[in-house]
Amino acid sequence: MRATRRYWAVAGFGGVFVVLSVLFARPLLLGGAVSLGAWLLAHQYAYLRMVTRVTDEVTVEQSLATDRVRAAADVTVTLTARLSAPTALSLTATAAPPIGTTGTTDAGRTIHLQAGDRKAATTFTMHCPVAGTYAFDQPTTRLADPLGLFVTTVEHGPAPSVTVDPRGPRNIHVGGGGERVLRPYGEHVTTHRGPGLETTGVREYVPSDPARHIDWNATARHNAPHVREYDTTTDRTTALVIDHRSDMAVGPAHETQLDYARHLALELLATAQDRSDPIGLYTVGDDGITHRTAPDTDRNTYETIRRELHALTPTRSAHPPPDDPTPHAASRPTRAPPRGGAGDSAFSDTLRAYVDTPASVERTTGDPLTQTIDSHLQRLSGAVQLMVFTTDTHRGAVYDIVHRARDRDAHVVVFLTPRVLFDPDQPVDAEAAYDRYLEFEDFRRSLDRLAGVTAYEVGPGDRLDALITARQHRRHPRRQRPNPP
């Protein structure tokens, strides 16, 4: 309870009466002070009763339209105050959005219930610029008495929270035929026996066994020489090959095929780092290899790969084929020509090649992905696992890559981002989209059937589920929930 200026003014009047009564020796003035003091106490008592009753009866709610949004999105908040019985108090409720949100003013998120009102509500929009969990404070309710003598502020009501997800892929599906796999990367099974930590068993000694492998305890138990065998552990070199050509740019902002591929590649990188597995990175743009990090296990390698993956954006071809109808090929931005303009001098003619081609690109002829495998995979030694992230657009090239990698005894894992799951026109014709998905699935299975090759689909799980569900509803319309009569 807080006394207002009006209260202190009346109390001041009473004090003046007391002083004057003493100064002028007039007891009658004390009567005035008694009247004002009694009036203040009686109204404080009345206010106290009203506040305790109203705080029990009032319901203040701040509800969110959704409790999960993407970064930089808006959340609609509704603030409602209800009284089970009218009161003479004036009630003001103010929502308390979390620190870090923007887009509202105090007036925009405040409601007033004047004396006699039973309900008031307001709706406002809150902007969440950064990812994280934003917790509201309880709404602040201000109760003022009708004569303006007292004010009480109470924090009353629920304190919801909203989770703001970073912009980027979510609900990532990795699997095949609509089924998820749990671990596309994990322990490697080997058929070798040798030094290690995990015991595989004890067997009888044969003359070719080294004497140091004899297990003397087992020998004593069996009364014949026995050796103990262990599982051997091997390091498998992993090479990530990321296709970031313009074909991988399909999809909504921050949820393109490349974004999904990048997200998965980062996950695999983290797993490799946890296991201290050697891992390398080769990124392939429209004009060739844009980056390469040779497989290694040192911390700098992991950090370099992580940094490169984060910085990866779809490229645009500097030399599109003449019949390329895509607008991006024609509209590819180029660096500013040398001063004087192209073709003005021998100097500008000499520089043109450097202006038109990014300096960091290792240009290739033919399919850049295939060329990458040819030029770099053969340099890798030992057991190699090749992880290729690409789209299903260039199917012939993918087959080519797989065959070339198999020729080099590499295990190939292909992560394909089916274009049908990223195409913005996909919801328009679910039947056609499903047919495209089946076509993709045939392609994926044909890869997966090859020895030493594993092929996964990577994409937004919700879109894949929607695609399959829409297809099922069309094929079995009677299974749909019947409409109520």
């Binding site: 009567g31 008694v34 009247s35 009036w39 009203m50 305790t52 008495d145 502020t153 109470v154």
Partner: protein
């Protein structure tokens, strides 16, 4: 958009008890002072259109002390005082339980008068009476404030 609760208009609705108190105070003034009392009552009535009831009652109290002779008949002074108290009690018309609040005004008046008057009569000292009055009001007000704070602790009252 509604007005802030702090902006209470001075000419808020006046209930019948307030009017009765005002008429009683005006009648007492006329009885005690004659025509000048009617003039003072008229001036206060004009002020009442601009100022709150509490302010007018306080100004009337000052006028009473200034204009009414020190040895005026106590019955007339009491009549005027009861009129002022009636005006103040009538403001309870605006709260949720008006009768209870009016009764609270009456009880508070009797209690404070009893404390102040008895101390004044016992000590024959106006300052002690005044201090006792101020202390009683302050302690009672603080007690209610603490009671509210404790009652609303779960609601985080401020």
């Amino acid at each position: 958009m509604t007005a802030s609760p702090d902006t209470i208009p001075t000419a808020i609705r006046r209930g019948p008890i307030t009017w009765l108190g005002a008429l009683t105070a005006a009648g007492g003034a006329i009885l005690a002072l004659g025509p000048p009392g009617a003039l003072v009552a008229g001036l206060l009535a004009i002020l009442w259109t601009r100022l709150s009831t509490v302010a007018v009652a306080a100004i009337g109290q000052l006028a009473l002390v200034v204009l009414v002779p020190e040895h005026a008949p106590p019955a007339r002074v009491l009549l005027i005082e009861s009129g002022f108290i009636g005006m103040l009690a009538g403001t309870a018309y605006h709260v949720d339980a008006p009768r209870r609040t009016m009764a609270a005004v009456g009880i508070a008046v009797i209690g404070l008068t009893g404390v102040t008057w008895s101390l004044y009569r016992w000590t024959t000292s106006l300052p002690i009476g005044g201090v006792a009055l101020a202390a009683t009001v302050a302690i009672a007000a603080y007690g209610m404030h603490r009671y509210e704070t404790v009652t609303l602790t779960g609601e985080k009252a401020a």
